[in-house]
Symmetry: C2
Subunit: 356 residues, 2 copies
DNA sequence: GTGAAAGCGCTAACAG
DNA sequence: CTGTTAGCGCTTTCAC
């Protein structure tokens, strides 16, 4: 519910907004000094072909008139906006918020601004956002696809048109562009191995959608760790979710109904692990005594639950930083080479109570 | 640590980026049809003064050539960018992330894009961001100040220049512009009263900086609740922090050294409450048995700590939504009235274990 | 209906 | 060093 109040300060502030005042242009400065606008332009852009006195006079008048250069006019000429389009699924997820922060800090130094667009995990909105940002003529795109994006026509179209492109976190593999990802494989390899080291042998996996690359890689890490230790992979121990609470619940019920229920559950995302722990607690099952649990990501929440969640720590801020730097590289050598490396940001195991 | 991999797909993707291809303009369309660019423009902008056949032909060729209107040129003429500047302290705080999300969803419908700039709680960076976004010629500003912003010259300057302005969360009181805030007073009144209802009498307050409006209002809510119940206000029970962990620790130490230490602690922010609970746990003090604790905000973390944190739930997403709508109103009736209402988003008490 | 011309604010090539 | 001219891509008079 919301309340409205008339602002009691309205009449007291004593500042009047100057509506509609035509903006000051270089022509105003030129007129005032009786010189041509080209000279003013030169003075303002540090062009050497201006006498020091003229420059000084121009700068003075510019300040006096509070002149603000019009970036639109400038952009029209240089055909650049110094704006970058950042497309993410959901800014409210700490993981993406941290990446965005990293990107911004990386590119702000070079005077680039970022336009953030959320796809809300909808491929359709993702498509519309790309379209809209293209029209806004951003200088480049940093894109993290939705979970369900399977058709990469839009980003291919951008590539074809020659837009500088960086793909991060949920990447498009089909294009030779810079990519920045978490170390999915190693993350699950590490947490799974940790559970094995803790003496667990019946280790289940709470995975993601089958088509999602990150999910696939994490599952491969899990399987590799099992293999390494001579533990047979059992498909009934693997549950694929679409990251919804119901799926987690269904997975547990299924596992507990098994003749040999798992003694540990590896998850590929912290939120799932935390939901898991809550459900187990409701059922009176002890974590880690009965079932150990691990996560992935080291969400802010991971250290707050009880017991603390053992997890693989990622550094989303660093991922953003690297993605931003890659974009700056592309922008710099725009017309020479296209680097198409994949950067893998390695994390580290954070051991807390949930793994025993 | 990061690893680099040469992308093995580089040679396989079969799509070639068309570097530098000059963008398609209305002149290309005009030439192809042997008509003037004015007619093309008219056809594209739904101007009635075009024959249906001409329009159809233009639309066809436009699609064929994949024509994209140049927003910069358009903006230069109309003097608008359909971009809004959003200035927040830190996108990684769930509170601000939710607000940003609300703003975006509110304005996206009307075709506005948002440029997010983080001030990192630095008044200096806040100032630079305002400056930069003004140069980028955004159509309006939605601003949440840093904790330490005391000088509002920058935003006043924007106001004076006639920019549509909305102030949210940490607002500037000195200007007659729309403001959207949480219900600070009521929040602390409510949590304090709840503690009193739980039988507590020696209630301390973990407050914020004295100069910060939200902090002042919350303290007033706390004091009003005490007064209401005939409990004497004791200044030694109030600690002002600058939201740092050390300050929280110092406050506790001070309170515990008192001849009559508090039996409850009201805080004005969840993060502080959670830090508080951790420190108390370390000291072997039981929450809520020995000391009850309440928070403010209902952070995602509030339901994860043990015991759960009793807190006043805010709806930051709604605050963003309202702020965005206010901005749209300003933009619509830009040259008529300036609404200057204050919208107060009311929350509600969420009772969990920490209050007993 | 359509075309020619002016102009949004600025830079850049070309003369002096 | 400085002024003139010609655009950047588009809309918008103003003629016809």
């Amino acid at each position: 519910m919301m309340f409205l109040f008339k602002n009691i300060f309205s009449h007291l502030c004593g500042i009047d907004p100057v509506m509609q005042k035509r903006q000051i242009t270089i022509i105003d400065i030129a007129k005032k000094l009786g010189i041509s606008k080209s000279t003013v332009s030169r003075a303002l852009t540090n062009n050497p072909n201006v006498s020091p006195e003229t420059r000084k006079a121009v700068l003075e008048v510019a300040k006096e008139l509070d002149y603000q250069p019009n970036m639109l006019a400038l952009g029209l000429i240089k055909n650049e906006t110094r704006m970058l389009g950042v497309i993410i699924p959901d800014i409210q997820k700490p993981f993406f918020a941290a990446i965005v922060s990293g990107i911004q800090h990386a590119v702000a130094r070079m005077g680039y601004r970022t336009i953030i667009a959320q796809s809300d995990e909808s491929p359709q909105i993702e498509k519309e956002n790309i379209q809209a940002l293209m029209l806004s003529r951003v200088d480049g795109f940093l894109i993290c696809h939705t979970r369900d994006t399977r058709n990469f026509d839009q980003i291919k179209m951008l590539y074809q048109k020659g837009f500088p492109l960086v793909s991060f976190a949920r990447i498009c593999q089909e294009l030779p562009i810079p990519k920045v990802v978490e170390d999915d494989f190693n993350g699950l390899y590490t947490t799974t191995q940790h559970l094995i080291d803790c003496g667990r042998r019946r280790i289940a996996l709470l995975a993601g959608p089958k088509h999602l690359l990150a999910s696939k890689l994490r599952q491969q890490g899990y399987m590799a760790a099992l293999r390494q230790h001579g533990i047979t992979y059992r498909s009934e121990y693997v549950a694929h979710t679409r990251f919804l609470h119901e799926h987690v619940k269904a997975a547990i019920d299924q596992w507990l109904a098994l003749p040999e229920p798992p003694d540990a559950i590896c998850t590929i995302y912290d939120a799932g692990a935390i939901q898991l722990m809550e459900i187990l607690k409701e059922k009176g099952i002890q974590v880690p005594a009965d079932i150990a649990v691990t996560g992935f990501g080291n969400d802010p929440a991971a250290c707050l639950v009880v017991p603390g969640l053992t997890t693989y720590e990622q550094k989303p801020y660093d991922i953003g930083l690297v993605a931003g730097k890659n974009m700056l590289d592309l922008l710099k050598k725009r017309f020479t080479t296209i680097p198409s490396e994949m950067t893998i940001s390695t994390g580290s195991l954070v051991v807390r109570g949930s793994s025993g």
